[in-house]
Symmetry: C2
Subunit: 312 residues, 2 copies
């Protein structure tokens, strides 16, 4: 049993009003795999880096236990680079620079050992590349996908084609409103599920996440953090933890999905406490379990006294 | 046992991208009392209206069972008027017009029958007027207060003085950040609780509410509504339902506060489904109980399998 994640592997430069970090290891595939790894022994990465990608960063992923056979090195170019600046309240950010570099000509060619992957995570990438990966894997059990506003605006038809093959779609609230062209999140969710994904998760950053299935809506809280150092990668760590937990339980019923949203939230809540994905590397199972329990306490509504008769 | 609520009684004109309503009954005291009333037989209103306040609106409050002995009629002026315009996503609004009218010279003089009130709700008003009411009530059991950015910016010292006498303070997230001059909500909450209120509730509109006490943080979801007609008064209906439930249970322990946040959310979720406070008038106890149960289902995190050992 295994999880395959495709996405970017990047250098991220991050500015916040409280500090900054230059060219740290980043990218959706890095966060996805490192967050899934504590739940699953066999986590496979598909991505591309350039000639400038240091051994040190490759070792971070390798030491995290990620299978790097699918990490292509394109000696003709440089690694994808992103530079972002967070606002004072850390919930908003501006992209200062994006250099696609080797990503511009990336055509994933999966190693033979990856073709039997059970859960496939399609990290934020051009929707056509996401399908290229899906086309190669033999009949995956469950497909999780992310995207971003750039693809919603520039390749809407291709995104729809990918969506029709996705089981669980994970996007943020602004993207959901934009994709459905509908300001009401509940109605937007209905429309997006009509595009294919039976399960939809809308991430709301510091406000938690919403899970929409055939059966119900689930509202998950965000962990109340006093110190957020770097929100980068939180969404990918969420998807990684989510996929990891689903892998672990081997089911995708309502309860499993709700729990998976919590474990995704746990991984996201840890990753933002440091620059880059470092915090994911020294998380032990106890820390993960403890924070998951904290989420239950945070959201616990005590049993309601039957009110029907007692109300005046 | 009784609840007293002081606040505005107003004409509201409301524009949304989907419709509008002119000079409907509004004001914090109207929403507070009508939302508390299903939980408590004795709900008392303190406020002022002008010579133009129609019998028809007085009858709405009276038919809702609200004690209007404390509703002063100032024959020399007109009723407070507010005109707001909601944005396309209904989470933001602009104030187009505010006419204080009789509110500008309002000096509450409580009827003798109000002086024994048990729970006091200080709706959004000049903090000095809020204290005038507190000064008159004999030793209330529990004081709930709301405010708005105008008082945070223009009468910060007076607001602090009022806060030092408040048990439970209810504000929205933008106001909490502004009052504490701190972008992180958890840290902002700590600072605001340091100003006096042992219990702090931060309302986040479509993202639910956070309850901060000595013991814990509680994250309550918002009810996922497909159709929101008019968000006006949701915050006041929340405070009214909250106070009403606390009155009913007669305790303010952790569980009672969490439940009260849910009943506040229930009343807020109903009130936004129509223009003005109308929906509060035809809510039966069954409808309230049913939606409260829906909140529990919405937020339910299934029991977590002990993970410590099973994790790889």
């Amino acid at each position: 049993m295994s999880i395959l994640a495709v996405g970017t592997v990047a250098f991220d430069s991050i500015d916040t009003p409280f500090g900054s970090a230059e060219r740290v290891l980043g990218g959706s595939a890095s966060y996805l795999t490192l967050a899934a790894r504590p739940f699953c022994e066999d986590v496979r990465l598909v991505g591309v880096v350039g000639h400038d990608f240091p051994d040190e960063y490759r070792q971070v992923l390798a030491n995290g236990g990620v299978d790097l056979e699918g990490l292509e090195v394109d000696e003709d170019g440089k690694t994808f680079f992103w530079h972002g600046q967070y606002h004072y309240d850390m919930n908003e950010r501006d992209t200062l620079d994006t250099q696609l570099n080797v990503l511009a000509s990336f055509e994933p060619d999966l190693p033979a050992s990856y073709l039997d992957s059970d859960i496939v995570c399609l990290g934020n990438l051009e929707p056509g590349i996401q399908r290229d990966v899906l086309d190669q894997v033999h009949d995956p059990d469950f497909v999780v996908a992310d995207t971003m506003n750039y693809w919603i605006e520039n390749t809407p038809d291709s995104l729809r084609t990918t969506l029709s093959r996705v089981d669980c779609f994970v996007i943020n609230d602004a993207e959901a409103r934009e994709l459905a062209d509908e300001p009401n999140l509940v109605r937007a969710a209905g429309q997006i599920r009509g595009m294919g994904p039976e399960t939809l998760i809308i991430k709301k950053g510091e406000h938690g996440a919403l899970l929409f299935t055939d059966e119900s809506v689930f509202s998950a809280p965000a962990y109340p953090l006093e110190d957020i150092q770097d929100p980068t990668g939180a969404g990918d760590a969420f998807a990684g933890g989510l996929a990891g937990h689903l892998y672990r339980t081997g089911t995708v019923d309502e309860d499993a999905l709700r729990r998976a949203v919590i474990y995704g939230s746990v991984m996201a809540s840890y990753v933002v406490q440091r620059y880059g994905p470092d915090r994911l590397l020294d998380l032990d199972p106890t820390a993960i379990a403890e924070r998951a329990r904290s989420f239950r306490e945070l959201a616990a509504i005590p049993k309601l006294v039957p009110l029907d008769k007692q109300l005046v």
